[in-house]
Symmetry: D2
Subunit: 308 residues, 4 copies
Amino acid sequence: MATAFEPPAVVGFIGLGNMGLPMAANLLMVGYTVRAWNRTAARGEPLARQGATLVSRPGDVAEPGGLVLSSLADDAALEEVFGKTEELLRRLGPGGIHLSLSTVSPATSRRLAEQHARYGVTYLAAPVVGRPDAAAAGKLWIFVSGPAAAYERVRPVLRVLRQGDFHLGEDPGAANVAKLGCNFLIASAMEALAEAFTMAEKNGLPRATMAEVVTGTIFDCPAYRNYGKLIAEERYQPALFKLSLGLKDIRLTLQTAESSRTPMPFASLVHDHFLAALAKGRGDWDWTALAAEVSEDAGLPAPRDQAS
Amino acid sequence: MATAFEPPAVVGFIGLGNMGLPMAANLLMVGYTVRAWNRTAARGEPLARQGATLVSRPGDVAEPGGLVLSSLADDAALEEVFGKTEELLRRLGPGGIHLSLSTVSPATSRRLAEQHARYGVTYLAAPVVGRPDAAAAGKLWIFVSGPAAAYERVRPVLRVLRQGDFHLGEDPGAANVAKLGCNFLIASAMEALAEAFTMAEKNGLPRATMAEVVTGTIFDCPAYRNYGKLIAEERYQPALFKLSLGLKDIRLTLQTAESSRTPMPFASLVHDHFLAALAKGRGDWDWTALAAEVSEDAGLPAPRDQAS
Amino acid sequence: MATAFEPPAVVGFIGLGNMGLPMAANLLMVGYTVRAWNRTAARGEPLARQGATLVSRPGDVAEPGGLVLSSLADDAALEEVFGKTEELLRRLGPGGIHLSLSTVSPATSRRLAEQHARYGVTYLAAPVVGRPDAAAAGKLWIFVSGPAAAYERVRPVLRVLRQGDFHLGEDPGAANVAKLGCNFLIASAMEALAEAFTMAEKNGLPRATMAEVVTGTIFDCPAYRNYGKLIAEERYQPALFKLSLGLKDIRLTLQTAESSRTPMPFASLVHDHFLAALAKGRGDWDWTALAAEVSEDAGLPAPRDQAS
Amino acid sequence: MATAFEPPAVVGFIGLGNMGLPMAANLLMVGYTVRAWNRTAARGEPLARQGATLVSRPGDVAEPGGLVLSSLADDAALEEVFGKTEELLRRLGPGGIHLSLSTVSPATSRRLAEQHARYGVTYLAAPVVGRPDAAAAGKLWIFVSGPAAAYERVRPVLRVLRQGDFHLGEDPGAANVAKLGCNFLIASAMEALAEAFTMAEKNGLPRATMAEVVTGTIFDCPAYRNYGKLIAEERYQPALFKLSLGLKDIRLTLQTAESSRTPMPFASLVHDHFLAALAKGRGDWDWTALAAEVSEDAGLPAPRDQAS
């Protein structure tokens, strides 16, 4: 029977962005041997100094029958690395596992799972909830879906990255559905907070006071505390999570909803607010800048660009 | 200087509904002398057995310069008791305080505050957050607005009723703005959960699993736990808070928003969903039944009426 | 049997605004004896020069058993003139008819019809479709509801004012329902045109070209031609119909819809766009300025204020 | 200089569906030589009896330097016929013109125009407005975009098919933008009519009466007359234009809007109503069945399935 991936096992890592880099660093730290690839090689240098091997082609991260993690920006990036040459899958081969940490559509996961199977590779969807600071602290939440046996094998790796994980069954798309649902819920909470704060402000009750009574009573949880503070203070830069990426996630949500014939009117509305923000040149602001649409529609001044 | 209302002070209590009754009982229990009135006198009998005096006219609950609490269904009921004859205010008179616990519009509170002032009575808006079980346990959240001196005098009474309170300033409408904002946020969270669960269900991920990952990670707070459970299980009866009252609160929110020129698109949408549920005869169901609109629009079966 | 109101019959006229003034002038012109009242008496002077008698109290326009027309800004103005003293109704008395031309809610019409009946007066709801130029040309459309016999008696008067009329049955609210429905349809057409033109503009197709293909093919009717031209040219001032009045009409529509438990999501959305325009200080612009909300949400420049 | 395509010129015709078949028949009738291809060859038999030549491969319809018309269901079908083998383009070659009558996205038209140019072929986007009966009567409206010289050459052909056409400039996507805008405007008009009729019905005013006053006054144009009648009578079967195709067109509109950063809230809402209808199994009903969503949300009975 296949054994668990425990240090000092070799793990391949594809994608060293804001999320991938701290995750790979944490794996190094606990003793894994990390072979990493990133489109822009220079981004990997800090990791190399910590002991990782940087390779120049994606396929070179793979060990036959081993484990490869990927953390990429979107469906297209993921499909390009794994879909185009299939060199990586050929090398990974029978017994290999691909732990796919990106936020992509369930349809993409299902398609990749079938493709991987042709090489004997198991695809595990494993999107994460949390921002770069949570990644650095090993405090992500991870939703996993795919074969249970593969999930058991990668648990030692998951434990390095997360404060908790959920195995959501065999359908490779299930974890993506859960992740898209969470991001949609966050976006909806942001819009709702923006509307409540704006109504308060226009009725003479300060936004910060409204934030305090909301998070001090029935909405005492991280999402409302963190986003509530940013939206109350109208502090939309620098971005912790770019608005253009938020729009992308809501688009994936709406596509998933459409293909399953599920009207999601809140998602449509949030989508339109993100789109308006993008049209106004705020794609690189934090996605909480969605709230500025609500303020402006109430005749309040537009937020200043604080980037420069 | 005016002294605090401490037991065994006489307090008047207007309105012995699902919320008023347990609050009045708690005041009795800690030693207050309670004179109570309810439109339907019979509802007050349990309270009388605990030692309260039931009176037949609202005015009779008042002690000159004393304290009267009211807990009524809506603006119209409040305006009728305090507005029509003004007998109650005449008796309460200079130094008297009216602690108004109902969810009404800020405009109503402002109007009543002016009217009360003509009799030397101080109006304190004091809407509560929490359901009947929280009222019984003395675990309500209370938002107070109006003169600070009056707020200080009623604090001993508040302490009997609540787990926490917030004084939101002198504007008598401020507490109502905060309360409407909270109910709007709850309704929005319910709609968002309904959409996320329905999308999950139609993609093969059980509603209960989606509820678990949501409340087990970033939305670990009472509102999401409680409403998430009911919406995941599609258990909309019996009502803890009637859908028709939820619609009323959203209507007050939209009116307050309109009079301050604040578009609230989420509120408009939630309003339309509540209205559809009412049109289908679900006004007496729990307000979480809003979620059934989302399921039905996705072609899923309508929930069964479980009332009989 | 009661006879028709034909010239030189005396008719009373309440309300000499942009719509009332030309209508009263047309009645004078064909030979009616007109007794008129307006809150601001000075507005009636041109009419006096044409031969009308101006009176200083609303009640003085009425002839026992005669006909009074009213054209007022909103429900409140109508209720004040007819509701407060009831002097006018007392004078009008048995056999009298009140032809109510204002755009008010069906509920107001039903309430007034009952009140009028107590004096033997028949209330006919008769809201008009058309702008001041159509009123001046006697080219209004008029929707009438109330007793058929009364409708027959006033037809000679209607013929002076309109290019066509519809008797919509006995329910005094029916004509108001029809009128609100029409204004809602116009507002929806304006929003739809704004979205289509904005999408075209952002894809390189000029707004005017889009307007041309739309009204040159399947939408070749006055509403699309007139509003399409204004919205294509983004010419929102001076107002032919003030945006604040458009908001009022949509509010009446939503109230009527709510009291009959009818969700109208387009109406909610149009309401929110009107509200945003009002929040930005455009209440006195033409109601087509609704379209500016769509352009601004697409990142296009806000329209200049052309009032000064 | 290239000459106009006049009878008895050979024209190729790709796609003999509800729209393509009557168009091709009209070309035959006035003397063109027609070579036609359809995926399901049997559909072309009536045309063969009228004198057309049916070919078994798309490429066989093309004459070097000649004209090919296509009328296909969607972007995918169009891209498959013209994109896959490119045999058709190779045969058509320098001087050839492809008149593309399908409703596709502007992005698809732009992509195909570039691809065609590599073979010396000119791509003209030429989506049509009108239903099969208008196609049979040669009474379509046609929006054309692409090089002016090519437009001039195909005008003799257009004259056989249409009651009017518009040349919208050189951008091959422009005509598609106009067509999507028109379909969006129709869908919005249908939703608005559905809301107005439902409000009327729930207030005691018959749907048919409301339809009469609307189309008898300011909305006296084909779109409101035709769709108003169907929606007033709630006659949603058989389909003149399938709801699933309406959803497709609104999806293309939203994609075009998103790629140009244009929020279109009416389009989002109409999309959600079409999606709900599809979820309830009404994809093969007429797209006016969108109106049933409005009635059902108002608690009125669901329309009966009249297909069987």
